[in-house]
């Protein structure tokens, strides 16, 4: 599976990453090699199946909201103020 630089640029955009212009060729080359290797999977016949997830014998918990305090939230405190996430001010507004 050959991957061109335009496709790499497109995938990077979707993944919210930048690939520097001077590295595009190299990344496209590497992705092509990796996808060729991954393509070995197509040599193998597999049943046509629906998407799968592991099916352990799990229990369903009751759908009840439990109390939590801001301390239990996982955001970093240097990024929060009271119950809000802090972001930089909007630039170029005036």
């Amino acid at each position: 599976m050959a991957v061109d630089t335009e496709t790499v640029r497109q995938m990077a955009r979707l993944a919210r990453l930048t690939v520097e212009e001077d590295r595009l060729e190299q990344v496209a080359q590497q992705m092509s090699e990796i996808l060729d290797f991954m393509g070995e999977i197509n040599a193998f016949k597999a049943e046509d199946t629906e998407p799968d997830w592991q099916q352990p014998s799990t229990a369903r918990r009751a759908d009840v909201v439990e109390d939590f305090t801001p301390l239990d939230r996982s955001e970093d405190t240097n990024k929060t103020q009271e119950n809000f996430v802090r972001v930089p001010p909007i630039k170029g507004a005036h």
Binding site: V3, V8, M11, A12, L14, A15, R16, L17, T18, V27, Q30, M31, E33, I34, L35, F37, M38, G39, E40, I41, N42, A43, F44, A46, E47, D48, T49, P51, D52, W53, Q54, P56, S57, T58, A59, R60, R61, L71, D72, R73, S74, E75, D76, T77, N78, K79, V85, V87, P88, I90, K91, G92
Partner: protein
């Protein structure tokens, strides 16, 4: 050094927890050039030890792991402690809660002395993909300790702690166990709660212990095991009890050697050493049979497609807004992109791109959907094979620990190190790596894979090999 023996001494008052923990911290300090820890927690560890000693002096129960120093992989949360998963992306992140598995160990008296180095976000087989620099193998410092639980394996191999927690998505506990001469267990998917484990590929991730003995692995796993309401994929079924026996009677037991794992493509010296370890099981009465599991030949592409797709999705939450490090920019989109491009290391970015390909319109049928179908086929084949035999046996890794830098230039070569460990992760079966012997002076592991839910069997056969 064995956790159970330390705990027994502390519990009965024969040893003070404070002495055990101080000793462990001193050894960690002395081994600093191995790159094992991302942080040591001397203050909290010593405080916990003093509290435990007072508790025991008052005649209260110390717990099954009383005073046992443990090291925790840097992707398993402990409240109030930094958690970076070996990546610059999470620089400055402090965990808000403690992982269920760790909480259960702490409730039995285990004391965390530090957090261990790892391939960033669990992506790597050598410990070299870390923002903190590589970990060295304590048995030979020119070699890697394996990965991604590199620091956890090295901490036990260097005798700093008797027990370390790792996480295993495609071999990240078992392969470093093999490279460092340790016991490493990946339980059945769902056996141990993933709550508080930083998600890499959620449908494969499992926490697992690295220990010197199978006995310790059994104790620790049984403590961590069990349903947890904060992980809806955790199993309700109880783990089967395991009675440690150095020489169990294995008359009538059948061991399956999948031909796909014993082809001459493998390293012959590794195969011979691992085969010799299996003969110990034959000496106890077990019968060895060869069998076929055809889908194993495409385990690596299947694994890398599915895990990269899940990782691309899981890691989308790291945009600099809520956790860790943030690159400031003129607008939010630029800030996301700058944060992610500078925060994630090269291997993580490679996998995110690969995962994005695998899920992209026009590609996903040939990549993600195909890999998912392969996984279902593989699980059916493994279940079928395990109806005919009690356990599957193969090398844990195709080579002993390779040299630092040997595979960093070639990702596909690195991915191939996971050839034998990825199948049980894909299918959810429990698997253990136990020391089988050495090749060129470096340890190699025997991997034993059991029926889903049957940790007791892998522990029983594992202990029959190691005797402890």
């Amino acid at each position: 050094m064995e956790a159970a023996i330390i705990a027994a001494a502390v519990r009965t008052g024969n040893r003070k927890a404070i002495d055990v923990i101080s000793g462990s911290l001193e050894r960690a300090q002395a081994a600093q050039d191995l790159g094992i820890f991302t942080q040591l927690q001397a203050k909290s560890a010593l405080a916990a030890a003093r509290l435990l000693d007072q508790k025991i002096a008052r005649g209260e129960q110390g717990g099954r792991l009383a005073g046992v120093p443990i090291a925790v992989k840097d992707n398993i949360a402990e409240r109030g402690q930094a958690m970076t998963a070996g990546s610059n992306m999470l620089f400055g992140h402090v965990a808000a809660r403690t992982a269920t598995a760790l909480k259960r160990l702490q409730a039995e008296g285990a004391i965390v002395i530090g957090r261990t180095n790892m391939d960033a976000f669990g992506m790597g087989s050598s410990g070299e993909n870390s923002a903190y620099g590589p970990t060295k193998n304590p048995l030979n410092t020119a070699h890697v300790p394996g990965g991604s639980s590199s620091g956890s394996a090295a901490a036990v191999a260097a005798d700093i702690v008797p027990l370390a927690l790792g996480s295993d998505t495609g071999g990240s506990v078992r392969q470093p166990a093999s490279f460092c001469g340790l016991v490493g267990l990946k339980p059945t998917y769902g056996r141990i709660s993933r709550s508080g484990l930083l998600a890499f590929a959620s449908s494969l991730d499992q926490i697992g212990p690295l220990t010197k003995t199978v006995r310790d692995a059994a104790i620790v796993t049984s403590i961590m095991a069990g349903y947890d309401k904060s992980d809806p994929t955790s199993l309700v079924d109880l783990m089967q009890p395991f009675t440690p026996k150095a020489k169990p009677n294995l008359e009538g037991c059948r061991i399956g050697m999948p031909r796909q794992c014993w082809d001459t493509n493998g390293n012959n010296a590794v195969n011979n050493t691992v085969r010799a370890a299996i003969s110990k099981l034959e000496a106890l009465g077990a019968i060895v049979v060869s069998l076929e599991i055809p889908s194993l030949t495409v385990a690596i592409p299947t694994y890398y497609l599915l895990t990269s797709a899940e990782a691309a999705s899981n890691l989308s939450r790291f945009d600099g807004i809520r956790f860790g490090w943030r690159a400031e920019a003129d607008d939010l989109l630029q800030s996301y992109v700058a944060t992610r491009s500078k925060g994630f290391g090269p291997e993580v970015q490679r996998r995110i791109l690969l995962g994005t390909f695998a899920l992209a319109e026009g590609w996903s049928d040939a990549l993600y959907r195909k890999a998912d179908a392969m996984r279902i086929t593989m699980r059916a084949e493994m279940d079928q094979a395990l109806e005919a035999v009690d356990i599957l046996a193969m090398p844990t890794a195709p080579t002993p620990a390779f040299k630092l830098g040997a595979k960093t230039a070639n990702p596909i070569d690195m991915y191939r190190s996971d050839i034998y460990t990825t199948p049980p992760s894909l299918t959810g079966h429990p698997a253990i790596s136990v020391p089988a012997g050495t090749v060129d002076g470096l340890p190699v592991g025997l991997q034993l894979v059991g029926k889903r839910g049957d940790e007791a069997a892998v522990l029983r056969f594992g202990m029959a090999v190691t005797g402890r």
